[in-house]
Amino acid sequence: MSDFTVVYVPRDAAAISVGADEVADRIKNEAEARGLSVKIIRNGSRGALWLEPLVEVESSLGRIGYGPVSPEDVPSLFDSKFHAGGDHALSRGVVEELPWFAKQSRLTFARVGIVDPLSMSDYEAHGGLSALRKALNMTPEAIIDEVTSSGLRGRGGAGFPSGIKWRTVLHTTADQKYICCNADEGDSGTFADRMLMEGDPFTLIEGMAIAGLSTGATRGLIYIRSEYPHAIEMMREAILLATEFKVLGSNILGSGRAFELEVRVGAGSYVCGEETAMLESLEGKRGVVRPKPPLPAIEGLFGRPTVINNVMTLGSVPWIIQNGAAAYQNFGVGRSRGTQVFQLAGNVARGGIVELALGISLDELINDFGKGTRTGRPVKTAQVGGPLGSYLPTSAFKVSMDYESLLEIGGMLGHGGVVIFDDTVNMAKQARFAMEFCAEESCGKCTPCRIGSIRGVETIDKIMIGENRLVNRELLLDLCEVMTDGSLCAMGGLTPLPVKSALSNFPADFGFEPSVGGSHDAIA
């Protein structure tokens, strides 16, 4: 035993939002007052957000957790000798033995909540940089082969095979190539990107550096939304440290190879999470969607070949390079390989991060991990895949959470967010909100999205007050078809998903007989 106690208090924004800073201060003061030697490490969050602030103490058995801790609980924690692993009403035992964690497969999130996010030595002690060292001794083709055969697909929502994108950039000649990390995580119900950036920023940096080595890109940009001030600060600090340790810069780990990285901050536009709108924004312009082709991999940022990947995608690369494509392939089902970092959100008893092989059922996520609603009322629906995802009824919860199975029932995996609602929700209002959100956030390029969404709000209003219900229902479905077929990007193209799924699965909320809803595009 060392002569001081190591105590972990997360500095993740979610933990801070429920008092982690105050708890850390109180522990420091209380330890001083009692003449105890305590070292506080501000780690990322383990992702069991219902336990935050989760205080952990290092012991010979492992890390013992206490949570949720309020500042007022701190004196009693010391009274029961929590710093020596003592028992307390808030004790959760050894954190990694809690079923919530023991049942997960943490690959991308392996270090989140465990390491000090800004300690390079801690990072290396937990396997960090071994993938980058390996990649420096591989040819670009070999790195891309590894990523391709791992089956890794874009975790931002589109699910495009990452290796194919990288290969296109590698084989396109240009004076400058870019790696752009999309950290514009605007989907309600998703926070995995934020938590990785705040809890283990070096993993993202390592993944981006490997992407650079494999494609010949020497510059990287991380586009982080302005709503994430903690992540912005953490990434900036981590980039400075990584440059100091020569993980970034003109001579990566003494190899003579270069990769430089900078953070760019968004300005409150949801559609800038769409990759071409993000490029426009990075170029300092209005975040208006570009038509494709040209593909960003050929003509991307400032017209140069550009890899655009989500935080989760790039953050999975170090694990894949370190452990090999076959090991990653072992997780998942069908063409959906590897793990997905699912996020349980909304009205849920136990919300947070659940990283598991693709293919778990929605029911297991919501009921085994989430333990139903926080209000204790019955679950009515879950919206899977962000604001542009379907509202699924409980009868569809047996669905396997992978790209293909969700598509089959008219849904989508998106960024892996699951937002849970209890039986007090009115689905006509949710459908209206989806149209309203589209009207608010549309970049304005495509008429069906820009104007269709406003007509959508009006039409749903008419249905809700009972004006020509059946006629307006047909109009709404027709409008949805135009938006789906006539929009360049997912904003206008997928807004019909929540609208139509609400309408077909919950017709009574719109004032229809169940048979009316069930006859049209029913989901599951």
């Binding site: 924004a13 979610a14 801070i16 939002s17 429920v18 957000l49 219902w50 935050e52 995580e185 605007g186 989907d187 309600s188 119900g189 998703t190 926070f191 934020r194 302005s226 709503e227 994430y228 001030p229 903690h230 992540a231 760019r264 901050v265 968004g266 300005a267 409150g268 536009s269 949801y270 924004s281 990075l282 170029e283 300092g284 312009k285 209005r286 975040g287 208006v288 400032f302 996020q343 349980l344 959100a345 909304g346 009205n347 849920v348 919300g351 947070g352 926080r374 919206q383 604001p387 967010g417 937002v419 849970i420 609602f421 209890d422 929700v425 949710q430 909100f433 959100f437 608010e440 956030e441």
Partner: protein
């Protein structure tokens, strides 16, 4: 977020953004910098950014009006951003918004600000498992209640 901001004088704006001159794609960066420094983007800044970045004022105006973060008027003493996206709706953000507005003497539709406070809707703060979420000035709050917002607000000047 500071509670007082320097007056946005043309010379001051010009020297703040001078390093963007001739840099590629810097219009948004320059506008963000102006707002970070002065609390908002005054009209005269549009001319300064246009000159420094060597683009037309119309182009700068287009960028300025596109992004909801960029504001044409100074912020109130307290800026309250309350998440109204789906996950927070499921956790009661609509009722919270109504309650805080009535507490601050603001109307739901019409009057959204006083000198003391303004309430803005925001779509997602990434705190979706601990909703409803709110950002009071720079402080993120989870499981938000009216009293938690009150505690986080700056006092009267």
């Amino acid at each position: 977020m500071p509670t007082t901001w320097p007056a946005p004088l043309a010379d001051d704006i010009r020297s703040s953004i001078a390093h963007f001159s001739n840099a590629e794609g810097s219009v948004l960066l320059a506008l963000q910098l102006v707002q970070d420094r002065f609390g908002y983007v005054p009209d005269i800044a549009l001319d300064e950014v246009a000159q420094t970045c060597n683009v037309s004022r119309a182009e700068v105006y287009g960028v300025f009006t596109y992004y909801s973060d960029l504001r044409p008027i100074p912020p109130a003493r307290n800026v309250l951003k309350i998440c109204i996206a789906e996950a927070c709706q499921a956790s009661g953000s609509t009722a919270l918004t109504d309650a805080i507005k009535s507490e601050l003497g603001l109307d739901i539709q019409e009057k959204t600000r006083t000198d003391n406070a303004e309430v803005l809707p925001v779509y997602c703060l990434g705190n979706c498992a601990l909703g409803p979420a709110a950002l009071v000035n720079d402080q993120l709050i989870g499981r938000t209640t009216v009293s938690k917002i009150r505690t986080a607000m700056n006092g009267e000047a």
